[in-house]
């Protein structure tokens, strides 16, 4: 039996602005098992990054958790982190049980602070002996393919790919169970992208992290390491399935469109051609009624405008939010 590591139930995370509310994550439920890599895929503005903030309860105004619960398994029992304040979650779980590599983390390093200083900061804030953690950092640097000598260098002396690996090494020093990586490869060239994917897989194989959530807009990248994939559109999960099954036969029309817009250097692509999803992404302040994809969907029916399809398991390991596949179950 697979153990659940993180559970999100009917979560709604909105950006509450003065005049409007942006429904960036709207009624989303999913679970992450121990030992798996989950890919979260969607276009810009689909709520991927907001979802990652939700996972580790990084709720900073105007982002607010309006409804729903988030559970994280810590020492064998579920903690309802959505009921705690951001500070409490940060103090108790960040870095130890859950860690995040935010988008463009490699550019967030202060150029005048040595890499080793970041390790010392981490030790201080978690009450660990700095010298011990530095020793550990040297080993972890080797594991991600960096010379430990780089610890005594300044961030600007490292290349982009090296900085990204250094950030991952430091972020995982306390062996967190869950690693959330938000677009870790998008700023890197393809050779460094592959190295980084390898590092992530190695961290999991070595048991340093148990599960990885990989957020990206690039299906071809996430496909390389993910076991399951969540496809987001306009703040909703539209499909959640085993990676290989989605690739073989996507169920949601949006997933199909997204897959057919990917260009990779493979002979299949030239025969398949490229498809276009008409229209523009949905407005999250005032989203369309019913299924949020219906104005762009080639198969839209009357019911799609009126009712919102729920994310329902249509076959083993496959969940989709689309009336095309739900038949009697959805009605």
């Amino acid at each position: 039996m697979k153990e659940v590591l993180l559970k999100v139930e009917n979560a709604k995370a909105y950006y509450k602005l003065e005049k409007a509310t942006v429904k960036a994550v709207d009624n989303v439920s999913f679970e992450i098992y121990e030992g798996e890599v989950i890919g979260i895929v969607g276009e810009s503005g689909s709520g991927k990054t907001t979802l990652s903030n939700l996972i580790f309860m990084n709720m900073l105004k105007p982002l607010t958790l309006v409804d729903g619960k988030v559970f994280l398994k810590v020492d064998g029992k579920f903690e309802e982190i959505s009921a705690m304040s951001r500070e409490e979650v940060k103090r108790r779980f960040w870095g130890k049980d859950i860690t995040i590599i935010p988008q463009s983390a490699m550019n967030a390093l202060m150029p005048t602070i040595k890499m080793s200083k970041y390790v010392e900061h981490l030790a201080e804030s978690h009450g660990v002996e700095p010298a011990e953690l530095l020793r550990k950092a040297e080993e972890r640097f080797k594991e991600v393919g960096l010379n430990p000598l780089w610890l005594n260098r300044y961030p600007f002396e490292l290349s982009g790919g090296m900085r990204q690996r250094a950030v991952i090494a430091i972020a995982t020093l306390l062996n967190p169970k869950l690693l959330v990586a938000d677009e870790p490869t998008s700023a890197l060239d393809v050779v460094n992208q592959k190295v980084l994917l390898h590092v992530l897989i190695q961290l999991k194989r070595a048991g340093i992290v148990k599960s990885i959530i990989f957020i990206t807009h690039d299906i071809a990248t996430v496909r390389q390491i993910a076991d399951r994939m969540i496809v987001m559109y306009a703040g909703k999960i539209v499909e959640f399935s085993d990676m290989e099954k989605i690739l073989k036969k996507p169920l949601h029309p949006y997933t199909t469109g997204l897959l057919n817009s990917v260009l990779t250097p493979e002979p299949e692509i030239r025969t398949r051609g490229i498809s276009v999803i008409p229209g523009a992404p949905a407005n999250l302040i005032n989203p369309p009624s019913g299924c949020r994809f219906h104005p762009r969907c080639p198969y839209a029916m009357d019911i799609c405008k009126e009712k919102e399809p729920e994310l329902i398991e249509v076959e083993s390991g496959r969940r989709v939010a689309c009336f095309l596949h739900q038949g009697a179950k959805g009605l």
């Binding site: 276009e43 810009s44 060239d189 393809v190 050779v191 992208q193 592959k194 994917l197 390898h198 897989i201 807009h217 690039d218 299906i219 071809a220 990248t221 496909r223 390389q224 390491i225 690739l247 469109g257 997204l258 897959l259 057919n260 817009s261 990917v262 260009l263 990779t264 250097p265 493979e266 002979p267 299949e268 692509i269 030239r270 490229i274 498809s275 276009v276 999803i277 523009a280 992404p281």
Partner: protein, 278 residues
């Protein structure tokens, strides 16, 4: 490349010969950076050629010299029989070049002046035309027609400012310019890299339509091997300012011969297969 019936030779639209660009850095002790080294290639009528390479490979420098934005250190760029750096002396000739060679850049946000409505770039194109329209009304009709061609309802963009429309729309309006000016060559520098996946296909299709209907030649500058593989008739792989490998996409991508191309092809994530050695 195909050859038309009757054995007619396909004209070369652009010939680049031994193009070199060296930047000098420093005042007293000079350092030299060889951004482009001895690059030669040819673009024929209705041909799509891609320059593929990573950041710093010299692909954008090459594009800028072709667009006559800065001069090469040595070498020649011959467009429609004219050496664009030696034969163009008069303002009129330069105008001709600006009409016939069109650029579409990576960042659609940087191509517009935020203080003016977006149709200003289209009016600029109209004013650059050889046969200018007789009246403002006629000009506006041409603009509307061009917008329809690129799949935009003129109502949605006319009178709007750049921040009010999406990146995909901005890039489409840049291509609408091509329907007004009917250039012979389009230099597209990463035209899709800042656009969402679902709209990217639309931009590529628009450029392909231009090629079909007007016989436009296109140079794609990109780091995206997948895009180059899909659209091109000819791929040139650049590394450190040099063209290391070139040829038909199937040859370059499926049977690469140069070490660098091999590394690149091996590293690019694939949709239908997993990478080796992960």
């Amino acid at each position: 490349m195909f050859s038309p019936p009757g054995g007619e030779r396909i004209m070369s639209r652009l010939v680049v010969e031994n193009l070199t660009k060296t930047f000098a850095i420093g005042f007293f002790s000079k350092r030299y950076i060889h951004a482009v080294k001895n690059v030669s290639f040819e673009v024929k009528e209705r041909e799509i050629v891609s320059l593929v390479g990573e950041s710093g490979s010299g692909k954008t420098t090459t594009a800028k010299m072709i667009l006559r934005l800065f001069p090469p250190t040595s070498g020649r760029i011959v467009f429609e029989g004219k050496d664009i750096w030696r034969d163009i002396k008069k303002q009129e000739d330069l105008k001709w070049l600006r009409r016939k060679v069109h650029a579409v850049f990576q960042d659609p946000f940087a191509s517009y002046n935020p203080f003016y409505p977006v149709e200003r770039t289209l009016w600029q194109a109209v004013n650059l035309m050889e046969k200018k329209p007789q009246s403002k009304k006629e000009g506006l009709e041409m603009i509307k027609e061009a917008l329809f061609k690129v799949g935009i309802d003129p109502k949605d963009v006319l009178g709007k400012y750049p921040h009010q429309i999406s990146g995909g729309q901005k890039q489409r309006i840049m291509i609408a310019r091509c329907w007004i000016l009917r250039p012979l060559l389009i230099v597209a520098d990463e035209p899709t890299s800042m656009i969402d996946a679902s709209s990217r296909g639309g931009i590529i299709k628009l450029l392909e339509e231009l090629r079909e209907e007007q016989g436009t030649s296109i140079i794609f500058i990109t780091h995206d091997l997948g895009l180059a593989y899909y659209v091109s008739d000819n791929i040139l792989v650049m590394k450190d300012g040099e063209v290391v490998e070139g040829g038909h996409p199937d040859k370059v991508v499926l049977q690469p011969s140069h070490e660098y191309t091999k590394l690149l092809v091996e590293s690019v994530p694939k949709l239908y297969r997993k990478l080796e050695g992960l």
